[in-house]
């Protein structure tokens, strides 16, 4: 595992994803919506960066712009040096819902990108099985999504995002719909997967604990219209195990993140549900 580097300080190597002074205004029937006022962010190859922030601050919007699904109204996004103008094949996306095809088996769902990208199906079937085995779904590859639990479906979605070996994984609250225990399991599973299949990840979440546990860097968005208010390195060694959550350092990092988010949200820190944010999943909403 390469040491996580703060991209701005990366020695010589240019960042894989570069977001500079990006702005997004949605034109609607009513007043235009300023989703992102100005966001600048560099992500180095192999880095895991989380986006935290209050609801509606433009995290999903930023992710969609990086995926090439939405055009920024200002600023520039580059991927490996070239401007993002439309979707690219080397990105894998995971949403809050697994969004699997209900009439296909787990294995065929994992292979869905291969069909869309017109890659040779036969040469990826084994990889799909390996990925499913990695997330403990070997015995379920022929099951339909309706026969899988929520956590299992989301694991299938992760395999699907990895099947065509993309450089970058974009994850928009991938575990938000899961219960707390499943979610913890998924966090461990994800960090194990990333130890095997090294990826650059941009991860949107509402959980401070999850962000701190998984990330090399946590970026907090906030304000109205929103900007990036904090960009913080996570000082924990890898591979990460749950024990780090017991450390004082972890607690203090989480506290710092929580205070920043509450400030960005315009709440006086004391008035918020501080206890739930620090322990029980750390959900802001």
């Amino acid at each position: 595992m390469p040491q996580p580097t703060n991209a701005t300080a990366a020695a010589g190597e240019s960042p894989l994803v570069s977001v500079s002074k990006v702005q997004k205004t949605y034109l609607t029937r009513q007043a235009p919506v300023h989703a992102v006022a100005s966001a600048s962010l560099d992500v180095a190859r192999g880095e895991f960066v989380s986006l935290l922030g209050p609801s509606g601050c433009g995290k999903s919007t930023l992710l969609m712009m990086i995926a090439g699904l939405e055009a920024p109204t200002g600023g520039l996004i580059t991927l490996a040096g070239s401007e993002v103008k439309k979707p690219r094949r080397d990105i894998g996306i995971i949403f809050q819902d697994a969004t699997l095809l209900p009439w296909k088996s787990a294995l065929d769902n994992v292979l869905f990108p291969i069909r869309i990208l017109k890659l040779p199906m036969e040469s990826y079937r084994q990889r799909a099985r390996d990925l499913l085995a990695m997330v403990g779904l070997t015995d379920f590859e022929n099951k339909k999504p309706s026969e899988l639990s929520g956590g299992m479906r989301q694991r299938v979605a992760i395999c699907r995002a990895l099947i065509h070996d993309p450089e970058i994984l974009l994850m928009d609250e991938p575990f938000s719909a899961l219960d707390a225990i499943t979610r913890d399991q998924m966090n461990v599973a994800l960090s194990e997967i990333l130890e095997t299949y090294k990826k650059t990840v941009i991860f949107v979440t509402h959980s401070i604990r999850e962000a701190a546990f998984l990330s090399d860097r946590v970026v907090v968005m906030g304000g109205r219209p929103s900007t990036i208010v904090l960009d913080m390195k996570m000082p924990f060694p890898r591979p990460r195990r749950f024990e780090i959550e017991e450390t004082a350092e972890f607690t203090s990092v989480c506290r710092k993140l929580r205070l920043t988010i509450e400030e960005a949200h315009g709440h006086p820190p004391a008035a918020s549900n501080a206890s739930s944010a620090s322990r029980g999943g750390g959900v802001i909403e």
Binding site: M64, A67, G68, L69, K86, P87, R88, R89, I91, I93, F95, Q96, D97, A98, T99, L100, L101, P102, W103, K104, S105, D108, L111, F112, P113, R115, I116, L117, M121, F140, K144, P145, S146, E147, L148, S149, G150, M152, R153, A177, L178, D179, T182
Partner: protein
């Protein structure tokens, strides 16, 4: 898609097989209950006719109707064939037209805004009243009956298919676009298969409407067909023949419906299988 589900993997499997067991039991009931009721009604009918001495012109007994069907199956078959064929052609054209309109409505905003309200308004017309006009426009041949049958059968297909195309999850579409899928790929591998249950439910309504359309056409003018036979026999107070024709019509309707259901089963199998 419900995300709560059963927490553990074994739990999901157990729940699944339990549901299957219940399905097996309720299957037996769902067959025996309606069959039993139908048998009771028929027996009551037969009894009422025999004991009550009802004249066959008013109400022939089930047994005499069945006997007529067995004795004169050649005549009934002769009339059943044109009705069934015209209904099938009307139904196929209605389905093609309905799905084509749904595709246009789904992909063109202008078409959607122009077409949809008109289609709904159209639906308010008592369309059966227009049947005689089709004879004036298209003559007394089968083309006017087929056209009328298409006219009353296509609407449920449009509505159901459009709903099906629109039902596709937004995230799924985003995922496809992120994978640089073409609109055609999205249509063939996501939109169309997602819409299949909707399309088939529209088609099941359309098949019954298509038969109604042909029968009404035959009531107005025809030289053959079950609708023609019913009118002809009723005019001569031949109630038994008329009833026999209706029974045969039901069988033809069931046959066509069964073909649609079979088509649905095949389509589901096809899409569930790995197509590559």
């Amino acid at each position: 898609m419900a995300t709560t589900g059963v927490g553990t993997e074994t739990g999901a499997v157990i729940a699944g097989s339990a549901a299957a067991d219940r399905g097996g039991l309720s299957n037996l009931r769902s067959i025996s209950l309606p069959l039993g009721l139908a048998f009771l009604v028929l027996a009551g009918w037969q009894l009422a006719v025999t004991i009550g001495h009802i004249a066959p012109v008013i109400l022939p007994s089930p047994i005499s109707i069945v006997r007529y069907i067995i004795d004169r199956y050649d005549i009934l078959l002769m009339h059943a064939i044109p009705t069934t064929l015209e209904s099938a052609v009307g139904f196929i054209l209605a389905t093609l037209l309905g799905v084509a309109l749904a595709i246009i409505i789904t992909y063109s905003k202008v078409a959607r805004e122009a077409l949809y309200p008109n289609l709904v308004f159209f639906q308010l017309i008592p369309k059966i009243a227009l049947a005689p006009l089709f004879i004036i426009w298209l003559g007394i041949g089968s083309q006017s009956r087929i056209a009328f049958s298409v006219f009353i059968a296509f609407f449920p297909v449009v509505i159901a298919t459009t709903a099906g195309f629109m039902s596709v999850d937004r995230s799924m579409l985003r995922l496809c676009r992120a994978l640089t899928a073409s609109e055609w790929q999205i249509f063939t591998s996501v939109r169309f298969p997602s819409a299949l249950p909707y399309i088939f439910s529209g088609m099941k309504i359309a098949i019954t409407l298509a038969i109604i359309g042909v029968i009404i056409g035959e009531f107005i003018t025809a030289q053959a067909g079950l609708g023609y036979l019913i009118i002809f026999a009723t005019a001569r107070a031949d109630t038994e023949v008329s009833m026999a024709a209706i029974v045969v019509l039901c069988v033809c309707g069931l046959l066509l419906y069964g073909i649609v259901a079979l088509g649905e089963w095949i389509a589901n199998k096809f899409y569930a299988a790995d197509t590559e």
